[in-house]
């Protein structure tokens, strides 16, 4: 049986997955994604405040997935990357609007709102973030 996600488990992550809402620590200035409830560096001295991620970063590493888990079979081959955001946090997401052979480590990318997967034909459609290359401005 595939693992079907409850509505609540999807709903409670909407601020992060749709809008990139997260937290930072005002004591040390570190930004987090996903949000943390306390700063692992400052611990008791943590001063947690809301912050929204820039959505711009660069590719730290990537892979082209050929054997997918359930719910992603129809998307293969697809690119998964670890992206380091300008302000520090790193996250894992698919790359889109780019051919697998054109992806490079260090490539600048930006976040966009996308359809991620679905729980079979009659299940929930999941939305969230993917990243696509930032095109260099025309001269």
């Amino acid at each position: 049986m595939p693992h079907r996600k409850s509505l609540a488990s999807i709903w409670r992550r909407i601020p992060q997955r749709y809008r990139g809402e997260s937290t930072m620590c005002l004591n040390c200035g570190r930004h987090f994604f996903p949000p943390r409830h306390f700063c692992p560096y400052c611990r008791r001295k943590s001063k947690i405040a809301p912050y929204t991620i820039s959505g711009r970063g660069k590719v730290m590493s990537y892979t082209v997935v050929h054997v997918a888990q359930e719910g992603f079979e129809r998307q293969v081959p697809y690119v998964i990357a670890i992206v380091e955001l300008e302000e520090g946090p790193k996250l894992t997401a698919q790359l889109c609007a780019v051919e697998p052979e054109d992806v490079r480590i260090g490539m600048p990318v930006e976040m966009s709102f996308r359809r991620i997967s679905e729980d079979k034909d009659d299940g929930i459609i999941h939305y969230g973030y993917k990243f696509s290359p930032i095109l260099s401005p025309k001269k």
Binding site: R13, M60, S61, Y62, Q69, E73, I82, T92
Partner: protein
């Protein structure tokens, strides 16, 4: 506190064992280990059993009691230990602590996984649970894709090649071809690895460990108890367990498993050994790149040179350091909860001189290294023929 000994070891053959269920596997490995230890069931005071996901693989939870029941040892305490692919290694660690603390004289450390009762897509999904469901798997991450990203970055930073990764599979299959317990006891060529189908680039099918059924058991005892037995005990002289962030992306490095580095250092410090003192190592080669990183993180290779070293033959059987003499996860198989205990069984046999055609000459000190997920848990143990 007294020393802790391995007094018995046993395992099932690893493979697609369609005629055996989880309870059959653990009972078989348990009986072999108890016989090997020259003890009676009444001597055993507690059980620690490693198992990653019987709930998802066969719909069965409550594995602690199931193991005690299957090996006929109720009503003694029996605890299931879970740390994804490091469940076995962590069960060994908990059993070691239970004896080291003086609480028990004789305990069972076991590991078991029954993986072939579900389709492979479901295995892929369950193993994905070793990563971060919310922030990795939700976005389409598979377990191999995490190691693939480590491999890609290792290639980028250090010039590691796909051929060097393939050399790990060639070596481990060569060792496994000499192991009657191995799931795939045959050799593979570099060309076969390089031309195998893509899983998550740059990793190919023969860079990946397989889906496996199997169980392994070691019996641990206090020095006082072990000295009364006819056989020579093997001693655990170092034991360490560390953790890191669940998600790969939150780690300091993509090319090193910090948890391994720290656990290796702690275990070697406790044992009073350096990498040069170690004769053989069973390391966590869930993917070929994982063995290359393990060699660097445990101090057997310089940073960035693990690929070159394996390619040069430095880690072949009876060369500078014999690595994964059992065939590793790659060729011996990877029943996730059993792997950490299988590593201890192999090292015990090697140090006793009972490893047959894959015997390491004059083996005195051995190391086991078991990783959970993409590096969120690491467990390292060091075994010796002699003890202070």
């Amino acid at each position: 506190m007294g020393n802790v000994a391995v007094i018995g070891a046993g395992m099932t053959k690893f493979g697609e064992l369609w005629d055996k269920g989880l309870e059959d596997l653990i009972a078989e490995a348990g009986a072999k280990a108890v016989n090997d230890a020259n003890i009676d069931g009444e001597d055993i005071q507690a059980i620690y059993g490693g198992n990653m996901s019987a709930g998802r693989f066969i719909g069965q939870e409550h594995i602690g009691a199931l193991i005690a029941d299957a090996i006929g040892l109720t009503p003694i305490p029996s605890t299931r230990v879970e740390a994804a692919c490091a469940s076995g290694g962590l069960a060994l660690r908990e059993a070691y602590l239970a004896v080291k603390s003086g609480t028990y004289d004789v305990v069972v450390a076991g590991g078991v996984e029954k993986m072939t009762d579900v389709y492979s897509e479901q295995v892929t999904q369950t193993l994905g649970g070793a990563g971060d469901q919310q922030w990795e798997v939700f976005n389409g991450v598979t377990f191999p894709s995490l190691y693939a990203m480590m491999a890609r970055r290792h290639m980028h930073d250090y010039g590691t090649t796909e051929e060097q990764m393939a050399a790990v599979a060639v070596k481990n299959h060569s060792n496994g071809s000499k192991n009657p317990y191995a799931q795939f006891p045959f050799k593979v060529t570099l060309e076969q690895v390089m031309s195998s189908s893509k899983v998550a680039e740059p990793l190919k099918l023969l860079d990946c460990s397989p889906i496996t059924d199997g169980a392994a058991v070691v019996i641990l005892a206090s020095e006082k108890f072990a000295r009364k037995l006819p056989q020579e005990p093997i001693w655990i002289i170092g034991s360490a367990h560390t953790t890191d962030t669940l998600a790969l992306h939150d780690r300091k490095s993509l090319t090193s498993i910090e948890a391994t580095r720290l656990a290796g250092r702690q275990a070697m410090k406790q044992a009073g050994v350096t990498p040069k003192d170690i004769d053989l190592a069973e390391v966590h080669d869930c993917f070929t790149i994982a063995e290359i990183m393990a060699m660097e993180d445990l101090g057997f290779s310089k940073r960035g040179e693990g690929g070159k070293d394996v390619e040069s033959g430095k880690f072949n059987l009876n060369s500078e350091l014999s690595v994964n003499t059992s065939g590793g996860l790659k060729s011996c198989g990877h029943p996730v909860g059993a792997t950490g205990i299988k590593q201890a069984v192999e090292v015990t046999w090697q140090l006793r001189g009972e490893a047959g055609k894959r015997q390491v000459d004059d083996a005195k000190v051995g190391l086991t290294h078991n990783v959970g997920g993409s590096g969120a848990t690491a467990v390292v143990h060091i075994f010796s023929k002699e003890v202070d």
